[in-house]
Symmetry: C2
Subunit: 205 residues, 2 copies
């Protein structure tokens, strides 16, 4: 692209570093900002800087938080004996929005991925094992993506936990509510048959 302004080119380059945003989209966004009042750009820049410099992660569960312990870990109504292991804070938000889980979380910060150079030491796995060692946790629920990386991470943690007296489970894989059987992939459909649940249980939930 042939820019008529170095300042514009620089702004487009910086915006297009964001994932999923190419040069054309970046140009569209940047020209939009130019048409808006200057305060909008100021607020946007400040919000990003404030976030990057001042946001904390919860000491206990590594969820993003404005305080040392996040609201969930601080909540006395949550059950600290059940911990749900997730990849990142978006998963916490997704599970919270179901209102079906009353335990605490543990945010790993990603999953083991040799291709991207992410090993167990880059994730919050040691701190999870330490929490288990302290003996407060009775059950761990793995809620990681159903991908090779997710399964690898599950298995790695599971192996480390075998010496402890703790229940582990993974969230159910199966046909999504509202989905038609004929369009489901074979692996999912196969698993949903193997892991079938008693009918009485299915009508309760």
């Amino acid at each position: 692209m042939d820019f008529s302004s170095k300042i514009l080119e620089n702004a487009v380059n910086e915006v297009s570093r964001l994932p999923g945003i190419g040069k054309r989209t970046a140009l569209r966004l940047v020209l939009h900002l130019l048409k808006q009042p200057a305060e909008n750009t100021k607020y946007l820049s400040e919000a990003l800087l404030h976030l990057r410099n001042d946001v904390k992660t919860c000491e206990k569960c590594h969820n993003i938080s404005d305080t040392v312990l996040c609201d969930i870990c601080q909540n006395p109504k949550r059950n600290p004996e059940i911990v749900c292991v997730v990849e990142d804070i978006r998963d916490v938000m997704a599970i919270e929005s179901t209102a079906q889980f009353k335990g605490l979380y543990h945010v790993l910060g990603g999953k083991i991925s040799p291709i991207e150079g992410i090993g167990p030491q880059n994730l919050q796995i040691d701190s999870l094992i330490n929490k288990v060692k302290q003996g407060e946790i009775k059950e761990l629920i793995f809620a990681l993506s159903s991908t090779m990386e997710g399964d690898t991470t599950n298995f790695y943690i599971y192996k480390q936990l075998q010496k402890f007296d703790i229940t582990t489970s993974t969230i159910a894989r199966g046909i999504a509510v509202g989905d038609e059987l004929e369009y489901a992939d074979e692996v999912t459909l196969g698993r949903s048959i193997i892991n079938r649940i008693p009918f009485e249980q299915s009508i309760k939930s």
Copy 2:
């Protein structure tokens, strides 16, 4: 969405004000910044602020520029007698990338759109008429979108120019190079027949 941090929520809200970016995408972008080194967020914020505060528009053609006159208007090799009228600077970039135009531009800054509350007074139309009055321009090429708003804008300017001795033209509408006839819409195909060009001319370009 249920945010665990006000700072995060604020950043997501600001990013999702950008056109075409919803809350989910904004969250993904913002979490990406959190995983990157803090300098990246700093560079991004600075680039946006620098752009919004310091970028100029060329005094002559209203293209975005770092200097009082843009590089195109300053270039002595460009022909100031032919001026191409476009909506915004993306159109300048698109036409420049063809390397087929050696005249100057005039950026209107949009098109007449009563629905969006954009009238002729919000666009750089008066300054175009003034340039024509000064007598340097021999030909105006209208290169606006082929929409109702684009046509309205074309016609509005055309009417204002009738008292001047000046040639006006619009860019050709027709079947795109590489397109199949059967998939073309009827209006475009119809226009391409009405505005057919001598075969000798077509093989030259």
